[in-house]
Structures are given as structure tokens and as C-alpha cells.
């Protein structure tokens, strides 16, 4: 059977192009997702500051939640923590007593913002935040003093030479460092560099131990040097069993890099989630599309299969032949798709870095494994898709080989009609459920997605009915456009089934893309509306690297100011309720001074009283309320960004969670549990008599390098995460469109190619080439109008749900250009899929074409 399959593939390349391209794209995307997955799992950079330690002890950077599953059993789920978990200094003594430990070195750190002598802010390499460490910790890593001397006095600082170059300073020059307040001036005592001379991944500063202590550092890690003869593995084991504390982790080897670079680990786990989501989506669409392309090629080979059956090919042999064809196509497509996937994954990495999803220098773990897996999955997908077509193929009766024309059974079977209307009823049901329920945004979005899927499948099932309706509407118009219009109208009337086959992929493309894209634009519109409406402060102070927390207090003391608060951002982790089961969720959190909350931010409480916010209470958004299953008066049990448990009473549920954060806590409480310990901005509400406030604020800001005064929150900054999220959704839509494009072009091109005899007949009976083109142009206009129109109508239902769920109005935000891009791209594909084959067919001499077999 394999030889027969190979021969068929060789001879009938045209019929397999659609399947091949779909498989190629699938293999490329799956390979790329595989690389992202592996990179996410193995995320890590080789250690720099910790490279010389045999073992590193840090707090465990994840929190383990005990959750209830659907069946009532409990399970444990770990969620990564975004903020650095601090350690107790007393741990050093216990470590010292462990067998095999020679020396324990403490690594203390504090986040600083650096400015040069002219108060120009200097950011770390790749824009990362800078940390100052204790000089004693130098011994833990590969940094060596290359110029000058160690920091001796409380005013000395040592920079890595890459950072010094960017700041434009040399030993002896002065720099300014800012932590919680205004900057202090330090003298550059010396420069350090990595042993091998490359620039460090994260810029670093060292202060003398005494100088650092003044800045209120946190113990980040303990580095352990082993006794001679003790291997790192044994050392780690000894430390682990001696400490016996699951809030601590011991790292050796490559793990030391993960302990050092938290950003890589956090983005690695995000990447795993993204890769699985994108890959899963693509796999689902791939099966759909492949089913369509293989079904089409089987339908076009009906007579050939019937002949094979007549001369004694068993159904099993037909299935094996089709499976071999699919497997061979998939293998070739998979092999050719792999290099494409390699290009794609680099492009994706750059885009992810651009949207802040991964650090700019995030390394890809490249191994053949993801590509081999992608090829395997591609082959399996192709086989799964061909299985259904093969079942249909084996039902082809051998007598069909004897008939004059290969006709398909016309009309809509009863079963199909019933299925179609059941689907429509289901769709109507889920639409009205969505309208009736006060569900949160994400529930509504998933409801909207399943609704559009139901509608598209219903369209495919009821296709002939819908296209008959479309023909009834459009054919009279065509009739009025001369003889070519008359022919086109007659053709569409007579071939409702063919029209349905052409319309369905267009409906799929337009409705799916519109739903996903305009859900995002609607959400972004709602979010920015919320930011504008919710910010009642009239002045905002902000800085790219963060604002010193004492600035808010100083602003508050100005007599022209009614109230002011620092706005600090972080994340919290809690147990969410999703469809009856619990799941660990990470929610955005903001810290606001309770005294200034009402006058600077209007979060729009739906229930409760926001003024009761205190270090023991919290307010949550409607989304968070629905996810966590909490209401006013309930006790929330959460973990703050550094893993510290927090328990507090919910005092309010507010609606403006999209523009701001889902959890609102007391400012000082949240700030204490962040790594950076800075505010994102300071919100200022002026008093009634506020003469000279702007000048006063600018004056204050001048003391804090990098801090600028604005009259509102920058919406872009506020919604950066949502924008990144929207971008990922656009990416998925792009892939869906690419897939549907394959089906659109494949279906139309094959349908058109099958009409060569008809074209020949038309031309022999006196129809000019130009007139055939005109006829086909009008037919494709019907296809485009019906497909795009129906797709738009179908998308309106889920989008209405989303819009109501978001803002209460039934009108989604549909940017004209966005809609034009979706509808236009689909239309261009449909027209090209029809007109290019038409023109090619018209090049064949009609006399040859009419005599041609098949």
C-alpha cells in the first residue's frame, strides 16, 4: 500500500497541497511551541554572582497551595512567586553547624536606582532594576576587582565595568544612589568584571557591609563553600536534611543561576503556560483544517477509490493507503516545517521580549527534541484527521466506478438537519445564559468562544440551507448584471452544496477572528475608560525605575495638596474556583494609602465601603470576587508576592479592576513585601487653593532623579500587561487565519479546478474568455458576500456578550481598520482562490479540456 500511496502522492501533488501546507505550518508552530516549552522548563542562566559557591540557600520562590479538586479530593499546586522571598539572618548559624560546610557567606541586597553626577538616571543592563550587594558576597561569584580598590568607607561604591561605562564614570568619579528617599552621593572606589571578561547578565553594585546595612537590605541568599572532599550534591543533601524547612531551597550546579536570576525563572513559567496555550489551540485548529482538506481530497478521488474497490481492494487496504499517504505527507511536511519553526521561535522570542513577557536576553534552549516531537505529533494529527475521511472513503460503493458522473448525494439528510437545529438551540441557550448571568469577564470570554464555535459548526452542518437563503437574496441582484451575472446566478442556484462548501471556511475565518480580536479591543477600551474615569487624582509623579516611597509623604505635607498616595504594584496568589474545582490563580495587586484612596482613585465600589481599607482588610474587583468566590464580609486567604500569608476581611467589591488591579491592599503592607520597595507612581489630589502646586511638585521631583510630573496616569503603562496579553491573542488569531486561509484557498481552488470541462463547454458554445472570467468574478462575489456577511453576523452574538459583561453596553469596540483587515484579507483569499485557477484553466484549449478525462 505504501508504494501505491507514494505513487499517488507523486502523481496528484495538487490534491495534497492544502494538506501539506497545513501540516507544514502545524509542524513549524508546534516545533516553535516545543522549543518555548523546553526553554521555559529549563529556563536559567549560568550563575555569575553565585558561580563560586558550592551551594546556595534561598527562600523557596513558589508557594504551595492545598486545593480541592472536582471530586472533593485535595491536591497540591505550586505557583511561582514574583517577589524575592527574604531570609532570616539567624539561618547562618544553623548552616554553619551542618556537616561538610566550610564557610557560610551572606548575600544581602537592596534595590537601588543609580544616577550619574548630573542626576541622569542610569538603568541596569537590559533595562533591569539594579541591586547593591554586600562586598563580602563578592567571594560567592566570578566577579574580580579589575580597577581601584574595595569599598572601605560608607561612601565607597564598586560598579561592574559595563555599568560604569554606561554611566560614564571611572574610579574616583561620583555617582548617586537612591533607595527609599533622595539619593546619596558615593565615590566610585573600584570596578569589578566577570573572570571571563563578558558583560554580566545583570548589572551589579557593591557597597561596604556597613554602608549597605544603612540602606536596609534584605538577606537574599546564603552561599556555602564546602569542606574539601565534600561534593555539592552531598552538601546540598546535608543542608536540606539539617534545615528541614520546605520554605527554603538549596541550589547547586545550574540551579544556582536560577536562584540568582529570578526574572528568568518567572518568565520561564509564564512561557510554559503560553507555549501550551498556543500549541493546544493550533493543534485543535490543525485537526479541523486537516479533516477538511483530507475530506476534500477524498471527495475528489471518489471515482478512483470506487475503481480500486471494484477491482478488489478491501476497505482495510483503502484505509491503509490513505493513512500511508497522510503519514508520508506529514513526515515530509514535518521535516521541512522544522527549520521554519526554528525561524518562527526566534521571531516569537523577540516579540515576547518586546512585550516584556520574557527578559530581552532570555535564552532559547535549542535541542532536536521539540522538533522530533513536533514531527511525531504532526504525523499523528494527520493520521487522526485522515481516519474520519477514510471511514467515509470506505463507504464509497464500488459501483460508483461504473457510473458516468461522480455525483454526490444531494440535499440535507434528516440526521444532519436535526443536528444543525440542535446546535442552533444550544447556541441560543448559551447566549441567553450569558445575557442572564452576572458572570465575570473571563467566564464570559470562554462562553463567547464556545458560542462562536457552536455557531460555526452549526453553519457547517446547515451550510446548504444557509447558502440557499443567500442565493435567494443575492441571485436576483446578479441576474440584473448582464449575461455573465445571469450565468453566475444560474450556477450558484444549481450548486447550493458547492457554494456551502466555499462559504463555510470564510464564515469560520471571519467569525472566529472577529470574536477573538474584538474581545481584546473591547477589553482594552473598557480598561482605558476605567483608568480615565477611575483616576480622580489631578497630578501624578512617576519614574521609569520606580518612585522613592518617601516622596508621597513629602507631597502630602505640601499645603496645596489635599491627599496623596504612593501606588505600589505586585501580585498575590490565591485559590480560585473554576467550574467547581479549585485552581491556583495569580492576581494583580495594588497598594494604596487608605486615607487617600477615595480622593485619588475611584474604584467604583459595587458592594461594601472602600474607606474601611486597612492593613487587616482588602478590597477586590468583581473579577476577583467571582474567581475567588468571595463577597463583602468574607475572609480572604492569600499569599503576598513574597509568599507571606495574608488573611483579611473583604470590605468592598469594586468594578474598575480592568483599569487598575484586581486586589487593593494597604500601601505600606504591600510595599514591604515587594523586592524593589518602590512605588510605581504617586497620585496627588490638589486642595481647593492650589496655587503654585505644579511648581512645588516639580521642585520636589527634582530631588529624585528620573521622577517626572504628569497630569494623569499613562494608560499604556497602566495596561502594559493587558496589552501583552492582547498581543498573544492576536498571535493565536493570526495562526487561526493562516490555517483558515489554507482551507479557503484549497476548497475554492479544487472546486474551481473541477470545473474545467464546464469552462470548456461554455467557451465552445461561444462564451468569450472574458465572459467566463466575469461569471466567475460574480460567483466569487456571492461567496465573499455570503461568507463575510454571515461570519460578521455570527460574531455579533459572542461580542455582545463580552461587551455587556465588560461595561454594561451591548456595543463591542470594533475598530474599522481592524474589521476591514479581517474581512478584506478573507475576501482577497477567496477571490484569489477562485480567480487564479480560473485563469489557469482558461489557458488550456477548450477542445483539449472537454476531451480530458476527469
Amino acid at each position: 500500500m505504501l508504494t501505491l500511496a507514494l505513487q499517488t502522492l507523486k502523481a496528484r501533488k495538487g490534491g495534497f497541497v492544502g494538506t501539506f501546507v497545513a501540516l507544514l505550518l502545524g509542524a513549524a508552530v508546534l516545533g516553535a511551541c516545543g522549543v518555548l516549552l523546553e526553554s521555559g522548563i529549563r529556563a536559567g542562566s549560568s550563575a555569575e554572582r553565585y558561580a563560586a559557591a558550592d551551594a546556595i540557600v534561598t527562600g523557596r520562590q513558589e508557594v504551595e497551595l492545598t486545593l480541592k479538586d472536582l471530586d472533593g479530593s485535595t491536591l497540591h499546586e505550586s505557583q511561582p512567586l514574583p517577589e524575592r522571598v527574604p531570609l532570616k539572618a539567624s539561618l547562618a548559624e544553623r548552616l554553619d553547624r551542618v556537616d561538610g560546610v566550610r564557610t557560610v557567606i551572606e548575600d544581602d541586597a537592596v534595590t537601588v536606582r543609580l544616577a550619574d553626577a548630573h542626576d541622569r538616571p542610569v538603568s541596569g543592563r537590559h533595562g533591569s532594576a539594579l541591586q547593591a550587594h554586600n562586598w563580602a558576597g563578592l567571594r560567592l561569584g566570578d566577579f574580580r576587582l579589575t580597577q581601584g580598590h574595595a569599598p572601605r568607607t560608607a561612601d565607597d561604591v564598586v560598579l561592574d565595568s559595563d555599568l560604569a561605562t554606561r554611566a560614564g564614570v571611572r574610579p574616583g568619579d561620583q555617582v548617586r544612589l537612591m533607595t527609599t528617599s533622595v539619593p546619596r552621593t558615593y565615590t566610585v572606589a573600584g570596578l569589578v568584571a566577570l573572570k571571563d571578561g563578558r558583560a554580566p547578565r545583570q548589572s551589579v553594585l557593591f557597597l561596604s557591609d556597613a554602608a549597605l546595612r544603612q540602606l536596609g537590605p534584605a538577606v537574599q541568599a546564603f552561599g556555602v563553600l564546602a569542606d574539601p572532599g565534600t561534593s555539592p550534591g552531598r552538601l546540598a543533601h546535608a543542608i536540606g536534611s539539617a534545615l528541614d524547612d520546605d520554605h527554603l531551597s538549596v541550589h547547586t550546579g545550574d540551579g544556582r543561576g536560577r536562584a540568582e536570576f529570578l526574572d528568568v525563572v518567572v518568565s520561564g513559567s509564564n512561557l510554559v503556560v503560553l507555549a501550551v496555550a498556543i500549541g493546544g489551540n493550533v493543534l485543535l485548529i490543525a485537526v479541523f483544517v486537516l479533516y477538511a482538506t483530507t475530506a476534500l481530497s477524498v471527495r475528489h478521488r471518489r471515482r478512483e477509490i470506487a475503481l480500486l474497490r471494484a477491482i478488489g481492494t478491501t476497505p482495510g487496504q483503502i484505509r491503509r493507503m490513505l493513512a500511508s499517504e497522510a503519514a508520508v505527507t506529514a513526515l515530509v511536511a514535518g521535516a521541512l516545517g522544522s527549520p521554519l519553526g526554528l525561524l518562527l521561535v526566534h521571531w516569537l522570542r523577540d516579540r515576547f521580549a518586546g512585550h516584556g513577557i520574557v527578559p530581552p536576553d532570555f535564552p532559547l534552549a535549542l535541542s532536536p527534541l521539540p522538533f522530533l516531537a513536533a514531527i511525531l505529533v504532526t504525523v499523528l494529527t494527520a493520521l487522526a484527521a485522515v481516519l474520519i475521511s477514510a471511514l467515509r472513503a470506505t463507504r464509497i460503493r464500488p459501483t460508483e466506478a461504473l457510473g458516468e458522473a461522480a455525483v454526490e448525494p444531494p440535499g440535507l439528510g434528516r440526521g444532519r438537519r436535526i443536528t444543525g437545529w440542535v446546535l442552533v438551540a444550544l447556541a441560543a441557550g448559551s447566549f441567553s445564559t450569558g445575557l442572564a448571568q452576572h458572570a465575570d469577564f473571563f467566564t464570559l470570554v470562554s462562553l463567547a468562544n464556545s458560542l462562536v464555535l457552536l455557531l460555526v459548526i452549526a453553519t457547517a452542518v446547515l451550510g446548504p440551507l444557509l447558502s440557499r437563503a443567500a442565493v435567494r437574496l443575492l441571485a436576483p441582484l446578479l441576474d440584473r448584471t448582464g449575461v455573465t451575472g445571469y450565468l453566475a446566478a444560474a450556477n450558484t442556484r444549481a450548486n447550493v452544496g458547492r457554494l456551502a462548501g466555499a462559504i463555510t471556511p470564510l464564515v469560520l475565518a471571519v467569525s472566529f477572528a472577529s470574536t477573538v480580536v474584538f474581545t481584546q479591543t473591547t477589553a482594552l477600551r473598557e480598561s482605558s475608560d476605567q483608568v480615565r474615569a477611575g483616576l480622580v487624582a489631578d497630578h501624578v509623579l512617576t519614574a521609569p525605575g520606580g518612585v522613592s516611597p518617601d516622596l508621597a509623604a513629602k507631597v502630602r505635607d505640601l499645603k496645596q495638596v489635599e491627599s496623596a498616595t504612593g501606588l505600589v504594584k505586585s501580585k498575590v496568589v490565591g485559590a480560585g474556583q473554576l467550574l467547581g474545582a479549585q485552581e491556583a490563580v495569580s492576581l494583580g495587586a495594588q497598594g494604596v494609602d487608605p486615607g487617600a484612596l477615595g480622593t485619588t482613585l475611584d474604584l467604583h465600589a459595587r458592594d461594601g465601603d472602600l474607606s474601611r481599607l486597612s492593613p487587616r482588610t482588602l478590597a477586590i474587583s468583581t473579577t476577583a470576587a467571582s474567581w475567588l468566590g468571595l463577597g463583602v464580609g468574607d475572609t480572604a486567604r492569600l499569599h503576598l508576592g513574597d509568599g507571606t500569608p495574608f488573611q483579611g476581611e473583604v470590605i468592598a467589591v469594586y468594578t474598575r479592576g480592568f483599569g487598575f488591579a484586581d486586589i487593593t491592599l494597604d500601601h505600606d503592607l504591600l510595599l514591604a513585601h515587594t523586592t524593589q520597595k518602590t512605588d510605581a507612581s504617586v497620585l496627588v489630589r490638589s486642595a481647593d487653593h492650589a496655587d503654585g502646586l505644579t511648581r512645588a511638585l516639580s521642585g520636589l521631583a527634582a530631588h529624585y532623579p528620573g521622577t517626572v510630573l504628569r497630569d494623569g496616569l499613562a494608560v499604556d503603562d497602566q495596561l502594559a500587561e493587558q496589552r501583552a496579553n492582547a498581543w498573544v491573542n492576536y498571535l493565536v488569531v493570526g495562526l487561526i487565519i493562516a490555517y483558515t486561509a489554507i482551507t479557503v484557498v484549497n476548497t475554492l481552488a479544487m472546486a474551481t479546478a473541477a470545473r474545467r470541462r464546464e469552462f470548456a463547454l461554455l467557451r465552445l458554445s461561444g462564451t468569450a474568455r472574458r465572459q467566463v472570467v466575469g461569471m466567475m468574478r460574480k460567483e466569487s462575489a456571492v461567496v465573499v458576500l455570503a461568507g463575510v456577511g454571515l461570519g460578521t453576523v455570527l460574531a455579533a452574538f459572542p461580542l455582545t456578550l463580552v461587551a455587556i459583561g465588560l461595561g454594561g453596553t451591548p456595543w463591542p469596540a470594533v475598530p474599522g481598520l481592524g474589521y476591514l483587515a479581517i474581512a478584506g484579507a478573507t475576501a482577497v483569499l477567496a477571490v484569489a482562490g477562485t480567480m487564479v485557477p480560473t485563469r489557469l484553466l482558461l489557458r488550456i484549449r477548450p477542445v483539449e479540456a472537454i476531451g480530458a478525462r476527469e
Binding site: T3, G312, T313, T399, L402
Partner: protein, 246 residues
């Protein structure tokens, strides 16, 4: 039990399409026997049931009631898989057109039934039939490179390659010009006389039927007449009579 003298034997075969008032009775209690080593034509006007007769006799379609025997084998007792294997090894087919797989060469098309059965072609036999149908120089060509008559020769060679008990031909000359048609009919005649094959051919052409040993006339699903060793003129007369009767 004695070996049947018939290669194919139909007893009271009825074939009904559809149900209720729309039902069409394509064959109505047809009984007929085709003797081994004969060349038989099945004739009748359009809608007489001659194609259905062929489908049922060849195991391509199952009768609604009645019995079809191929040699000693009762076909209705067979499951689809066994029936397919039987078609592959014991029956040969020649259709009016679209006989060949376009992706296979002439030789590959000829030996396809053997390969489907997992057998090696017998080189002597293959060369013998290739010579008989006069395709020696074209074995590596593809069907699209052949004329209509040449394609039918390939189909006949494919039908012969398994040394079947019966070859069924459905309007094998329907798409050919008279001269080419004559060559094909001579070839089928040779298969019967030289290679001792049994051939059953459905046709509406009295000239084609004149090459056969016997003719069965069907009308409205029944066998209405039979002739042995007829001439084209007499066949045409009977056919004209049948048409008038309709």
C-alpha cells in the same frame, strides 16, 4: 456435489431500490446461467436492468433476494471483505471509461490486483497477456499518454492477469470509434477462445453483441429472450421490438 457447469448462475434474483411507493424494481426474479468458456452479451434498452444484472452477478452489489453463485460459491453468504477478495482473485472487470489509476504506469495498473492480494506476478503469464493485448512497448507509460483503445487494452490485460473465472465488461466499447471497438471485441473473443476465459459483456450495440456466443435480452427487469450464435441483424430486430414495446 457436482461441480456446476455454470461459471455464474443467478436464481430468482430481485433487486429493489428505495422503499414504498417510490421503490424501483430493477431486477424482477431473474434467473440465468452463464456457461464456462463462453462469451455472453447482456442487452436491453435503457433502464432495462442490464447494469444492475452485471453489478449483482459480479458481486459489486447485493440482490434484495435470490441467489448468485460464482462457480460453487454463493455470493450473498459472503461478508464484504471476503467478497472483495473474491472480486480481486476470481473476477476481472473492464468498464466503459475511467478504468485505470492515473498515477500508476501501464504495467503497475495491470498487476495491481495481484499486488493488492500480496502476490507476485507470474512473468511468463504477464508477458503472454501483454503480447496478446499488444502493449509490449508501452508498459512504462501513464494512462494519460494512451489513446482510448489502448486504455481499454490495459484494462483487459488487468482483468486477465489473475486468471479469473469470469470477466465482466460494462459497455467496454461504448466510448470508442467503430474500428477500435472491433479490435477490443476481437481481443475479448480471443480471451474466450485462446485463453478459455468466460466473458460477460453488457452492451447496447448489436454489432458488439454479434461477436458473442449467446445474447440475453433484458426488459423491465426480466429476461425476455435469449439467442445462441446470433447475427447483428437479428439482434437489432429484437432490440427494435423491445424499444417499441416500451
Amino acid at each position: 456435489m457436482l461441480a456446476s457447469r455454470y461459471a455464474v448462475h443467478l436464481t430468482d434474483v430481485t433487486k429493489q431500490y428505495g422503499e414504498g411507493p417510490d421503490a424501483v424494481l430493477a431486477l424482477d426474479k431473474v434467473s440465468a446461467g452463464i456457461e464456462s468458456g463462453t462469451f455472453t452479451a447482456v442487452m436491453g434498452p435503457s433502464g432495462s436492468g442490464k447494469s444492475t444484472f452485471l453489478h449483482c452477478a459480479a458481486g459489486l452489489d447485493r440482490p434484495t433476494s435470490g441467489e448468485v453463485r460464482l462457480g460453487d460459491q454463493e455470493l450473498s453468504a459472503l461478508r464484504e471483505r471476503r467478497l472483495t477478495e473474491l472480486r480481486r482473485t476470481r473476477i476481472g472487470f473492464v468498464f466503459q471509461a475511467f478504468n485505470l489509476l492515473p498515477s500508476l504506469t501501464v504495467e503497475q495498473n495491470i498487476v495491481l490486483p495481484l499486488r493488492l492480494a500480496g502476490q507476485q506476478p507470474d512473468d511468463t503469464w504477464l508477458r503472454h497477456i501483454v503480447d496478446a493485448v499488444d502493449l509490449g512497448g508501452r508498459l512504462t507509460r501513464f494512462p494519460a499518454q494512451l489513446s482510448g483503445g489502448q486504455q481499454q487494452r490495459v484494462a483487459i490485460a488487468r482483468a486477465l492477469v489473475t486468471r479469473p473465472e469470469v470477466i465482466f465488461a460494462d459497455e467496454p466499447t461504448g466510448a470508442l470509434d467503430p474500428e477500435t471497438a472491433r479490435d477490443i471485441l476481437i481481443l475479448l473473443r480471443q480471451a474466450v477462445t485462446d485463453l478459455h476465459q468466460t466473458v460477460v459483456m453488457v452492451t447496447h450495440d448489436p454489432v458488439a453483441a454479434a461477436h458473442t456466443d449467446q445474447v440475453l435480452f433484458l426488459n423491465a427487469g426480466r429476461v425476455v429472450d435469449g439467442m445462441v450464435g446470433p447475427g447483428a441483424d437479428r439482434i437489432a430486430e429484437v432490440m427494435a421490438g423491445l424499444r417499441r414495446a416500451v
